[in-house]
Symmetry: D2
Subunit: 344 residues, 4 copies
């Protein structure tokens, strides 16, 4: 059995990794750290795991034997993984960072958006952007994977067929994103109290969001086109789920949009291209690693509309990280990711 470490086990991506890994048949979680909860039993902090990992205790990240693991996930705030990845890689440990430290190749761009100097610029080139539908082969051989952001996963999967096919004007693409509140993490923040965000809806970070440069760079590297993206995220009064509605101008009439999407994602175990007649709803992927998509050109007006939904904590974070782990460790890509969406 392969030994896994999780750095940052009490946030939502950390606990979601645990949820997936305790039933994964090929690995065991050997180390889990939490600076704030060091010494506490995992199941006391996360009672939904009672009976699943009763022997696991949070360790202090400064003392945990992470270098004895085969692979370590960083489910930490931005800026943490880049401090520790070099030593772990030197020790032969594979690393998947669920934060943003290694997502952007342009280091100056990264430093501008994240407001800190990069601590491991030498590793940025080596890191593979962990979107298997784009970089599967590279992920298989990677020592260090940058797990994509939640919005970027949905938006990139939604736009790839259009841009790869040269079907739309890349200069003016619009992504209207909507996320459940778990996307903001588990930190004490009065602005995310249920009394503040329940029964209400709003856009946020309209002037600029860090996921915008990530998406633009990914699409540029993937398709060779400079993409001008306007991305506006919104907060939905629900816990899980991301929906992105994407708009772009078709270069010429296209009657085969659905077929192109079906072809692009043929064989992909976690992308479902739906007929435009069916509802593309976040609950249809709740708890699963699936991205569901639909594409159409309403009323022949020349604007293509793509709908994409994911579970922000699964395909948008921990599930995709496990998918990447499966690839890196040579397991079946779908291992441990077979649950059915919880509906209703």
């Amino acid at each position: 059995v392969v030994r896994i470490g999780i750095v940052g086990g009490t946030g939502y991506t950390g606990s979601e990794l645990l949820r997936l890994l305790v039933t994964h048949p090929r690995v065991e979680v050997g180390v889990i750290t939490s600076r704030g909860d060091a010494g506490q039993r995992v199941t006391d902090a996360l009672p939904m795991l009672r009976g699943r990992c009763d022997d696991l205790t949070f360790e202090d990240p400064d003392r945990a034997a992470l270098d004895g693991c085969d692979l370590v996930f960083f489910a930490t705030p931005n800026g943490t993984a880049m401090q520790h990845a070099p030593a772990l890689l030197d020790a032969g440990v594979r690393v998947v960072d669920l934060a943003a430290d290694f997502r952007i190749k342009d280091i100056a761009l990264w430093e501008r958006w994240y407001g800190m100097p990069h601590a491991a610029p030498g590793l940025v080139d080596e890191a593979v952007y962990g979107l298997p539908e784009l970089n599967r082969a590279a992920i298989r051989g990677a020592r260090l994977v940058a797990n994509p952001g939640c919005y970027p996963t949905a938006v990139t999967l939604g736009l790839l067929p259009l841009l790869e096919g040269g079907l739309v004007d890349p200069a003016r693409v619009i992504a209207d994103g909507k996320s459940g509140v778990s996307g903001a993490g588990r930190k004490a923040n009065a602005g995310l109290l249920m009394a503040e965000v329940g029964e209400s809806f709003k856009a946020y970070s309209v002037a600029g969001h860090r996921h915008e440069p990530e998406i633009e760079e990914t699409l540029r590297l993937a398709t060779g086109q400079q993409v001008g993206l306007t991305f506006v995220p919104h907060l939905v009064p629900m816990v899980r789920g991301i929906e992105a509605t994407l708009y772009a101008a078709l270069r010429e009439p296209a009657s085969d949009l659905h077929e192109r999407y079906v072809a692009r994602y043929a064989g992909e175990p976690f992308v479902d291209v739906m007929p435009a007649e069916l509802p593309v709803e976040t609950r249809s992927v709740r708890g699963t690693n699936v991205c569901r998509l639909a594409v159409l050109e309403p009323q022949g007006k020349g604007t293509v509309v793509v709908q994409a939904v994911i579970d922000n904590l699964v395909k948008g974070a921990a599930g995709q990280a496990v998918q990447n782990m499966n690839l890196m460790l040579g397991f079946a890509e779908t291992e441990g990711l077979g649950s059915v969406a919880l509906v209703p």
Copy 2:
């Protein structure tokens, strides 16, 4: 005291009219009809009104003395008001239709989208589209007002300054709309059970929604430009509120967008142009007749983004209908509409 009639008192727009009118100092509700609940006391069907209108009883619409009213609101499904408006107008009764019967001037267009022949085509020209910020003077003198749709109210108020000012390309405007579930009405519909729409988010009517031609026509008539709108509505797991995020391509750089909006809506009692730094959230207008707006051009990319929020049942329906009634009857425009938003 002026005598008011409400046709269709048990739907959400009907009960919201009651909520507003029982505290309005200048009118009394003399007649309220409901085919399904005729003979029942209003407060038994709508217990939140206990103590406010205990003597009111739902009447059969076929027998109610609507022609004894000064003004009648139709809070009915599409296709009802056009059957009854001619006789009421002949009897000297003013009419406000909260449904769509008189919103679109192009009758063929209306019949295509609403799937029925128009029963009163001769009244369509006379009807005034009841958006006071656009048609205040005409509403004052009107016998028949077509109360705007909920999405069209938010989208039109959000786009007017851009299009009136010729600031954007009208050929490719995008409106990404989000609505709480009360927008779908109070009919038994398995698709709107809380177990179906709670904790989930989705787009709907992506291939085409009836509010799209309404918005396009209103903007064309108001600004003389043919507007090409792509409108995608979404369902938010909350009860009340509409948010619209609007995207258009600026013709040239504009540094005074906020100031233009402030100037356009100066003196408007129910439009609040917010600085872009403040959150534009639906709860900030809950229960009120206010539309709050913000405008900005993120990162100088040439795409302007407008956020607009309303309460779909107030400024998007019953509140705007009362605002129109105030204008039609010569009352102060804000009479009875002074409540503060319920936050949290």
Copy 3:
């Protein structure tokens, strides 16, 4: 592989059975019926199952070859299973009824609460009440299992140790139940629209609910005591989950309540007795077959308080039905029921 039939596949208990059975390693769903959706592909009605059972089509219940199944689940309204169970049992098919037809042994009592004559009174005695923690051995040999109601599952598991131990006065027991809206099923019902039940809380059926006689009879048969239960259910603005808070008067001071519960449920795979310090929250069992419990006597006042939570669609319906199926067919009791709760 064992062949399973589901009668009534489009309601919430039917689709939840599908969710659990498509990943169950020992069975396959051979027949699924739906009168309203006969002929439709299952995945068109239930898109979250796309990729899991794409070949399955709803059949007309009057024509489906249910007698070719090894076991048939009835996920139908009350009064259906009793019409069809006799013929299926004669054909050697095992039957699990998720509705109430066989839950109450006192046929006159059943007929009074359910308002119809019983169609198969001769089978009532044979039917085993499918609460494994009470009737495991009998379920193993049963041809016909009456799957318990959702509230009765939580309330009975919560009260059994108190009543079996003779610790409380059975004459005046109080169960204050709270359920998410999926408990009311998927029928079009204006009273369960999200706009009616979202952001609100209320009791319902205060004058009497059908689950009260079910609980009273079960506890009487299990413990030999006449139990006087006052049961008040409430509707919670959430989709899944039941919480029951139970109150009874202790006959004498008891300092070992927690230990007694631990002992009573030792070895039970799906009952978790929690220390009273941890939160007993519905989300901690979301999507799982677990019942979590805590017991304490606040401030030594002589009233014992038990908290119990289940997922109403899993341990309260489809999951417990699968647990019963596992016992009836000789599988491991936990087979196919191993998922971890979806938190957050």
Copy 4:
């Protein structure tokens, strides 16, 4: 016009006071304090108030001229009002404390539950418990009013007719309370993030809650009976509203329970005794100062069940405080409290 001060203007009770007072015809808010937001415009922190009090700025509580006010509300954490009330009262200012400092007459009991020594024990006797339905005359003449807790308001109004009438055994009364999340205030608290409490339900403080001694003392002082109360509060995934379901053992059969409640609350402007057939739902009082009640004895079993609903921020806090202010200042008791519940 009377001049009002609010200490602690950014919490939910403080902002709710503002919501009510900016439309109150007899008063003006002259001073509002907030230690954290001193110097900030009120409408920047609370944008829903834009257009209503644009000139108001939060002041530092240590410098604000509170002694120039006629009446000061303390919307502060427990332990604050008792520090400042003596000096204000000496300066001739009336005081209403929305926290718990003056609610309990037994000072030792208060100090045990609140974990601090009382700073103004000499004022406790003078303070009037501000439940107008119990203490109207005393409130009229009071200098210092202790505004009741939210749960105590609902539970006390629900139990008073039973205990005053000697109808039930006071030794074993059960109150199962449920509250929306705004009851917990606006402090940054990871446990109240929407991702933690949305789509879930739980009891909390089962071992003991501070509102229990408050209710027991109030009922004892009001009825002369020692009341043994078991109170279990629960958290509901909604923003506003409290429901309490109350259980007590009838001393003898009573067929006139409803009539007794109607008689007890005859003439009360803010208590509505509903027929047991109508739903007693929190939304029916949303945004209003009304408590709705229903009483019945289900199935003649000897246990009486009372349902009570209030808006925790209005009748449970700011609205009742304004009602008390109206009484203290000689205004009509209902002044400024006339809004209709926001349904849906």
